[in-house]
Structure formats: C-alpha cells, structure tokens
Subunit: 334 residues, 2 copies
Amino acid sequence: MRTSWPSAVRLVEVGARDGLQNENAPLPVSVRVELIRRLVGAGLKSVEAGAFVSPKWVPQMDGSAEVLARVLAGPPRTGATVGAAAGVVAGGVTGGSAGEVAGGVDYPVLVPNLQGLEAALAAGAQTVAVFAAASDTFSQRNIHCSIAESLERFRTVAGAARTAGVKLRGYVSCVAGCPYEGAIAPQAVAGVAAALRALGCDEISLGDTIGTGNPDSIRRMLEAVLREVPAERLAGHYHDTYGMAVANVYASLELGLTVFDAAVGGLGGCPYAPGASGNVATEELVWLFDGLGIATGVDLEALVDTAVWIGNRLGRAPASRVARAVLARRRSGH
Amino acid sequence: MRTSWPSAVRLVEVGARDGLQNENAPLPVSVRVELIRRLVGAGLKSVEAGAFVSPKWVPQMDGSAEVLARVLAGPPRTGATVGAAAGVVAGGVTGGSAGEVAGGVDYPVLVPNLQGLEAALAAGAQTVAVFAAASDTFSQRNIHCSIAESLERFRTVAGAARTAGVKLRGYVSCVAGCPYEGAIAPQAVAGVAAALRALGCDEISLGDTIGTGNPDSIRRMLEAVLREVPAERLAGHYHDTYGMAVANVYASLELGLTVFDAAVGGLGGCPYAPGASGNVATEELVWLFDGLGIATGVDLEALVDTAVWIGNRLGRAPASRVARAVLARRRSGH
C-alpha cells in the first residue's frame, strides 16, 4: 500500500460505447443520448459517446454522429436527480473550438480511420480515439491488419487530428491476454503503447479485453509500459470477465495510474465469451475510490439510478455488485 | 507485490453453511450432503458442513447432525466428474478419533454453545467453530449478548472442545464494518481475535460480514490483528457485497494470510441487504490463485459444475463471474 493516494482520479465512462457495442440489441439514438446525459448528470466528466465505424460491422454504434451532436448541443443535465423523460434539447452543435470540452465534459469517440475522423470532426468531436492491439492475431481478426499496419494507418489519423486540434486517445487491447494467442508479453504492450505515444496520443488506455489479467500480470505489464510512457498518460481499462478488475485497478493505482475506464452497470459483455461479464462497473470503481478517500466527482446514488435506467432499456438488472447492494439497501430502508 | 508467494493456500468452503444459511429456501439434508460431496470431489479439503443452532432461528441448518454424519460416513466422491444422482452412501460414522479428518477432508460445523458442541461431537465433528463479533451491537442482535459475554460463553465450549480433542475455529464478524455501528476500529477486531486465540482457537476467521471493507481498510485491520495473532492462525472471510472481496483477498495474501473462506457459486446473500451478493465465490478465488501460480488443489471445471448444480437446486444461475465466463466459453466451444 502506498502511504498516500492521489486526491482524485478520473473515470472514463465507456458504457455508451464499449458497453452498448457489446450488447446484442442496438439501442436507438435517443436512448443513447439520454444515457450519456444521465451519466453526465451523475458527475462523470469523460463520457464516450460512440464510434464512427461501419454500421455493417457494429450496428450498435449506428447514428454515433447524431448522438455526439446531440450531447454537444444541449447543456447536460446536472445534479443527482434526473427525470425520466428522454426529450432532446433543441439546438445546433456548440463549443466546436478545437480541444475544448463542452461544459467541462469530454465526449471521446472512436475513429478507425481518416474517414471516421472526418465524420467525427464534422459532428463536433473534441476527442477521438484510435484502437490498436497488443496481439497480432487479435489485430488481424478485429481490424483486419497487423499491429504495424494499424499503427501506420493511425499515423495519418493522428496527423489530421493534430491539425484539427482535437485530443487523441489510443486504445491498446489484449494487454494481458488474447482470445487467440493466450498470454501477451508485457514488452509487446509496451511497444504498442510507446508507438501510440509517439504518434501523439495524449492518453493511452490499456485494455484487458478478455479480463484474464490478475494483479500480478497487470503489474508486470504496467511496469514494462511505464518504462516507455509516464503514468499520467495511461488509463487502465479492465474487463471483469473473471472478477479481477477491481483488484487490477487497485494494483494500477499503486503504480501511479489515475485514469480508469469503466461502464455503468457493467454494460457490455465479452464477444469472445457470450454471456460473460464485460467492463468493470463504474459503480464498483466509485465505491472503491470513495472507500479509499479518492475523489471521482461521481454521485454513487445517481450512478446506480442510471444503471437501473439503462438496465430497464436492455431488459435486465444491473450486473454490478454495488448496484445490487445499493438497491437492496434502498428496499430494506437502511 | 511480494516478490514471492506461498506455494499453496487453503480454501475453506463455506457454501453449505454460510452460503445456504443465507438463502431463503431451506434445502433438504440429501441435497446438502450431495453438495458437500461434490465440493470434496472438486478438491476442497475444508468444507463446512452445517451449524448446530436452533432450527427455530436458522431453519436452513436444520438436520446438520445428519448432514455431518452422512458426509463422514461415506467416502467422498473423487475426481471432477460426479453424477447427478443424490444417492446417499450407507454406513455409520467413521474416523471418529479426535482431531483427525475423514479422508483428509475437514468438515467444520458451527456451535453456539455447549449444547451445540455436544450435538456436534455426537455426530462425529472433528472441527467446531464458535462465532463472535467485533461490534457489540451486532453481537447483541445476532447472538443476544455482548462481545464479552459471548467470549465468556465460548470459554466453556472451548474447554470442552479441547477435552474432546477436536479442533476449534473462531469466527469474528464485522471486521471492517457493522450494519448498525458503521466502521469498526481495527483494534476492536484485534482484541476479539486475541481473546479467541487465548481461548484456544486453532484458526481465527476474520469476517467482513457486510462486505464494506476495501484493500486499505482490510490491511489496516489485519495489521492490528497481526500484532496479536500470527498470520498462520488467521483466515480471511470476505463477502463480495460491493465487489471488493478479490482485492481484499489479494491484500491479505500480501500480509501473509494463506487461508481464505469462500462459497461455491457465491452462495448466500446479505441478511442486512436482501438481494445483495454474499460470500466471495470460491471460483473467483481459485481463478485468482491459479493465475498467481498458487496451488489450491481445486479443479475449477468441477467447481463450476458444482456451482451450476447447486444453482439449479436454488432455481438460479451461479452468481460468480468466473462461472459465467467458464460456462460462456463452454457454450462457444473455445
């Protein structure tokens, strides 16, 4: 245990993108907009809004331009109490100036290529994210090119993003294990992270895509990455497929990371193990950080409300332990 | 991270007691016997068999004498493949000699008082457990006496257990928080643990009964307890109510603990938050320790089979993330 923790961490809410992208049923734009507004209302300041990828491959992300434009257009609702109505605030895209975030909130979107970037910029994107993998087989199956080819493609995207003055996030998937290759060497992750940093990524999110990492393997991976990229440029993105994500976040915090990705209600699943758990639930991380005395700016009760709300849209209860406990406590009146 | 881990840890499977005790529907003796046999078949060597408490208060534990006698009577099934039939092996109680465990397997049972101890001894118990709390309010509400009074009562039980030559386990509940008092001081836990050790408890299980502990608070608690009782006499018993249990186990491992309680399929709930998660799932801990290269002796696939089997008896799917992931992997044929 470090003798002192940072006073605050930043949570990047990925439920409306990484979460919904891995849910079977595509949700309409209006529901996704409302979800993002509720997340902002709960206090989240970094909320992924969508992915500018082909709806042929990812139908769940169809309409991301409209989602992004709408959330940028309206002032996000504030406070813990949000109404049930999904009315969309009228108005055009505001705050389009480069690199700024609307109302103090950042809405990153994924862009696989230059075409995606242009569409994202047209919709008002202020932060875009590219995604590479630490496993060549995964890269081939997921984005149909080698790691090296993907980085070469991102060079053009990164250059254009820089010219447009938007922030750039880089994802590395399979940082602990790959569904095809098994365990991934820490040095492979470090190499991809270093390359993304060299391309100009402001932040690099390290994704344990299939959730096979444990505190020891995540630590070994981070130790290798930290030799290439400083902690303040890194985010931990851990899936809870095997229940290890909270422990992995804690281990990462000990190594100096202060940005963590999570999805409200543990949205999303694992495309490589349908029926398994997906992203670590944002509630679990808020609860952890609250307990450690580290500020997140997120209101846990409002977040649980949001988990219930989106769960209802998906026809199921929130998957997170914290949401279940908070709901149980409310029912019992404690 | 410690530079080296122990080569092995011991898991104490509490599903058939702490788990089922907190499930609404009492299960018949035959199902509980079959559950215990399957757990032993999966490789668990310490399997709680029941509680010698009044069925008026805990109907789920009614018939514990018969459960214990039956599991002691028959050679436990071995191997990962166990049939679905719940046929009970005929025969009397064997291996009654004091302090020995039947077939290398220990079947602890809870005894609240001398009457319970006598019934447990008559059924062949080789390990009995007493239970105290680190919160006076919890003690009053749970066992209707103060902590001091409970320890005085256990003095008689401990003496009789020693005379009978059986092993004695002591539980401390509310080691991190209490549903009535909130946070519990580490020193309060240390005091109760020291008292239980002085009474002759061979092992003291530290229970985060309501799962509010996090790696920092568990560490602070353990540091206080370790000044009174050596690590080799302690067990970590963490509930996963807020998803912190795996991280808490990891933190405890770093402080030298090598015994952990868990329940197959995350059986049990939280009587103070009905609907919330209960014990940490044994699968999660087996998966963690497998990943850390620490032996548990447990076959994860057989354990998941057992989680599914008991889940079917309770009319629900296993609550553990690992079981869900393993089942998903099996369905997808990976």
